[in-house]
């Protein structure tokens, strides 16, 4: 009995776990990664069995691991940070892959054909950034710090929107527009964040020299982040075009698209019998197989080049996906598409685990949450929601949405998971002097978003009728049977 009690002695358990957690950093990376994936997949399955989105499981697994580190090994040396750093490159590629997927769904032509939608994209982002900033400024946070929070929280996460939509096989205006607006939102945030950081840093430097004097912004200092953003877009687009060139057979169809030949064009007679036609078809089949490897190569190259040249990788990945384009029709038949789908799931497990682990669990477990931070976070979330409702409400009818859909779209643009964490960490890393209230409130807002938004989005897509049917509605009984039997019975009764 004593042995049994001793075995469960808290201090013994704690020291054993501390030793275990400390030693994880020394394990071969593949063992840690393998365990993490197994844990994430298991947690995802549990979430699914509980009728929740699988990403809840991934996220909670990450959050639980980081919390375990925070509770059992509170010193910095024993925290999860070194482990996370070891796998930073895996996370970057996984996130890059998911953003490429988001980019592949982006149809810039739609924004051109429906200018109201383009206006919505900019307006909802601007108003959300303004709303979040104003909510913090009400709590006496200096405007550059508040603006930084506004920029981080203005976008909606295309990763979450895309993953929930895909898991529900959602299709419709709310799902499509949410994917488009979240993709444009991430582009706007990726462009605006370095600018906001520059402004905050300039303001902080000026404040250090002379309190209360707003320093003039240097044009050059503003130009650098914008140039980087443009360069990332260009590199991503080039890599995407390369992926498409290698893996897609379609060539020079722009002329055909602008003026497709009429049915009775004489030239058509020979076209189908063209000797090159069979070669084109053969090539079309062959090139499908190259899509997976070329796309994966493109993502790795983009992430690597962005790190090398100091460019915003997120932006480059969205551009890569946009230029590589979507090919939806083979998704059920081609083997490489099944492979792409598996890689996408793997990437989802990884990024949501890291998103769960990256929040400041150490600080929260050790110092708790102040009421002020909670108020600021909820204030920001409400301001963000209100502004997105206003922006989409203003432009919804103009862009072809019904009122119900406009409200649903505004709600569908609330998730910030993963990309929000990435932007928050980038801001915190680049600007250590970020107002603590602002940075902690953003982190808490991200946590609240992670907890609430996947469920909200899933519910929303079901309520609005855009989620795919869960299964075929099998009518196993004969709907005509009752009528026939009634007739026969009636006849028999008469006889």
């Amino acid at each position: 009995v004593n042995t049994f009690i001793n075995f469960f002695d808290f201090e013994t358990v704690q020291s054993a776990l501390t030793a275990l957690l400390s030693s994880i950093a020394t394990w071969p990376p593949s063992v840690s990664l393998g365990l993490a994936l197994m844990l994430g997949a298991l947690a995802g399955e549990v979430a699914h069995r509980l009728h929740a989105a699988r990403i809840y499981g991934y996220w909670l697994a990450g959050a639980a691991c980081a919390s375990a580190f925070a509770l059992m090994a509170p010193s910095d040396a024993q925290s999860s940070a070194p482990l996370m750093q070891r796998f930073a490159w895996v996370f970057d590629i996984a996130l890059g892959w998911l953003l490429v997927e988001a980019g592949r769904r982006l149809d810039v032509q739609w924004l051109l054909r429906n200018p109201a939608l383009a206006v919505t994209a900019v307006l909802e982002w601007l108003l959300a950034a303004a709303g979040v900033s104003a909510a913090l400024m009400v709590m006496a946070v200096p405007w550059p710090h508040a603006l930084l929070a506004g920029v981080v929280l203005a976008h909606a996460s295309p990763v979450l929107v895309h993953s929930i939509s895909a898991s529900l096989r959602a299709e419709g205006q709310v799902a499509e527009r949410a994917m488009h607006l979240s993709a444009t939102g991430i582009v706007l945030t990726a462009v605006a964040l370095p600018v906001a950081l520059t402004m905050a840093q300039t303001h902080a430097q000026a404040a250090a020299v002379s309190a209360g004097v707003v320093a003039p912004l240097s044009v050059l200092s503003m130009a650098q982040p914008l140039t980087d953003a443009l360069a990332a877009l260009a590199v991503g687009a080039l890599l995407g075009a390369l992926v498409r060139w290698i893996s897609e057979p379609t060539r020079n169809v722009s002329a055909l698209r602008s003026a497709p030949p009429d049915i009775n064009t004489k030239a058509l007679t020979g076209a189908a019998a063209d000797k090159k036609a069979s070669a084109r078809k053969r090539r079309a089949r062959g090139t499908f197989m190259l899509r997976g490897p070329t796309l994966a190569g493109g993502v790795c190259l983009m992430v690597g080049l962005a790190q090398w040249w100091g460019l915003p990788a997120l932006l480059g990945c969205v551009a890569l996906g946009w230029a590589a384009r979507s090919r939806r029709y083979s998704s059920h038949s081609e083997p490489d598409d099944r492979m792409l789908s598996s890689v996408g799931t793997l990437a989802l497990v990884l990024v949501f685990m890291v998103a769960g682990a990256a929040l400041p669990w150490n600080a929260w477990w050790q110092h708790g949450l102040s009421e002020e931070v909670f108020l600021a976070a909820t204030g920001m979330l409400f301001a963000r929601l209100a502004m997105k409702v206003i922006a989409i409400g203003l432009t919804g009818s103009w862009s072809g949405l019904r009122l119900k859909q406009s409200i649903a779209l505004a709600l569908a643009l609330q998730p910030t998971s993963v990309t929000g964490v990435v932007f928050w960490m980038a801001a915190l890393t680049a600007f250590a002097a970020w107002n603590p209230l602002a940075s902690q409130a953003v982190a808490l807002a991200l946590l609240l978003g992670d907890v609430l938004m996947p469920a909200l989005l899933s519910w929303l897509l079901r309520v609005i009728g855009e989620a795919g049917e869960p299964h075929i509605e099998l009518q196993t009984t004969n709907s005509a049977r009752t009528r026939v039997i009634d007739t026969e019975l009636a006849g028999a009764a008469r006889i």
Partner: protein
């Protein structure tokens, strides 16, 4: 007893079932509800653009016309309204008899009482029925005339199939058929041709019998290739694949009108039993080989080439076409028949040029929304006809 609404002979109207596509990648979308909501903001369009059995299709209905040109003008207006609404929703509109690579399980039934009932009764067949046809209504003065025209038109079904065929692909593969759409129709128990009936009285007896069995509730339950439509006072030809352009749709309507004009004047006996014995085989030949089909003549018991006999038929119809103002569309059809081209050959040619069916669908949508080329071709044909 069904009552027959008398209508002016040889008036015509067209119903076109159209594909709703994702503009980005040409896949079938589920956007009918949203598209109809946008289109119906204009009240005049409410009865003209209506839902169909699944969310991936809409139906475009013209008003009643006596001539080809106003029919074409209306079709173009409806098409433009539809495409404009589609632009807002990133939904492209396309003709064609069937989507080349859609999967039936991804379709969704449009939520009306009738469509949901059809879905309950027919199970997966209802979703698989996401195929797209053109229906041409021809006005008939009486029920007897409608029954007679329905039967006399039956032997021309292979020609209609060859001209309109525009569904050579299914599940991403070339089926080797000119039209695969009709296979989706053929599985329904009341498809095929109307039974051989002498007149309106006999038709009513047949209808009452089927009602008595509980097999049908209305004329809509008959999926025949040609059927009388007593509430409109018309005969409805339902065999056509939706053509790739509205110009082609109007031309096919003009052909039915011209042919009906000749058939309505005939007073000889209605087609005999032999016509119906070869009906299925001739229909298959046309679906499979299009213009190259070898048809059986039940009278002579000899086979003949569809393309050659179609050319003769079109030429012989020119006097009636001239009377009805249908020379222009009839010559357009003559051009197509002589070159042995139809929607299926266009799709195959585009597939040969681009290598992907996704690109074919995008081109198909682009072709549907433009009319300039067809118009120019038809105008040129008209000039040639006038000078001749």
């Amino acid at each position: 007893m069904l009552s027959y609404t008398t209508s002016q002979p040889l008036t015509m109207g067209v119903e076109l079932e159209l594909q709703l596509l994702h503009a980005r990648d040409g896949a079938l979308s589920r956007g009918a509800t949203d598209l109809i909501a946008v289109v119906h903001k204009k009240k005049a369009l409410q009865p003209r653009i209506t839902p169909e059995i699944t969310e991936s299709m809409v139906e475009l209905n013209t008003s009643i016309h006596t001539h080809h040109d106003p029919l074409l003008t209306e079709l173009r207006e409806l098409r433009d309204a539809l495409c404009e609404a589609g632009d807002k929703l990133n939904t492209a509109i396309a003709g064609g008899g069937a989507h080349p690579y859609s999967v039936w399980k991804d379709r969704r039934i449009y939520p009306t009482e009738r469509f949901l009932h059809t879905s309950k009764l027919y199970g997966y067949l209802a979703k698989q029925f996401t195929v797209f046809g053109q229906h041409v209504h021809i006005g008939c003065p009486s029920g007897d005339a409608a029954i007679a025209l329905t039967q006399r038109l039956a032997k021309y079904i292979p020609y209609f199939i060859a001209l309109s065929a525009a569904s050579p692909y299914s599940y991403g593969e070339d089926t080797s058929f000119e039209t695969s759409r009709l296979h989706a129709v053929a599985v329904f128990p009341l498809s095929g041709h109307m039974p051989r009936l002498a007149d309106w009285k006999e038709f009513n007896e047949y209808f009452d019998e089927m009602m008595g069995y509980g097999i049908v509730g209305s004329m809509k339950d008959f999926y025949w290739d040609i059927r009388p439509k007593p509430e409109f006072g018309t005969v409805e030809v339902r065999i056509f694949d939706t053509p790739l352009t509205v110009e082609m749709a109007a031309a096919l309507a003009a052909l039915v009108q011209t042919l009906s004009s000749r058939l309505m004047k005939q007073t000889d006996a209605l087609p005999g039993v032999a016509t119906y014995r070869v009906y299925g085989y001739n229909r298959f030949q046309a679906c499979r080989f299009g213009y190259d089909a070898m048809l059986i003549d039940p009278q002579t018991k000899e086979s003949f080439h569809l393309g050659e006999s179609l050319a003769t038929l079109l030429q012989s119809l020119m006097p009636e076409a001239a009377e009805l103002g249908n020379l222009k569309p009839m010559m357009y059809l003559q051009d197509l028949a002589s070159a042995q081209q139809n929607g299926a050959s266009w799709m195959r040619a585009m597939h040969a040029q681009t290598g992907t069916l996704e690109e074919v669908m995008r081109l198909q949508a682009a072709l549907f929304r433009q009319s300039s080329q067809s118009d120019a071709t038809m105008d040129a044909t008209k000039k040639v006809a006038a000078s001749a």
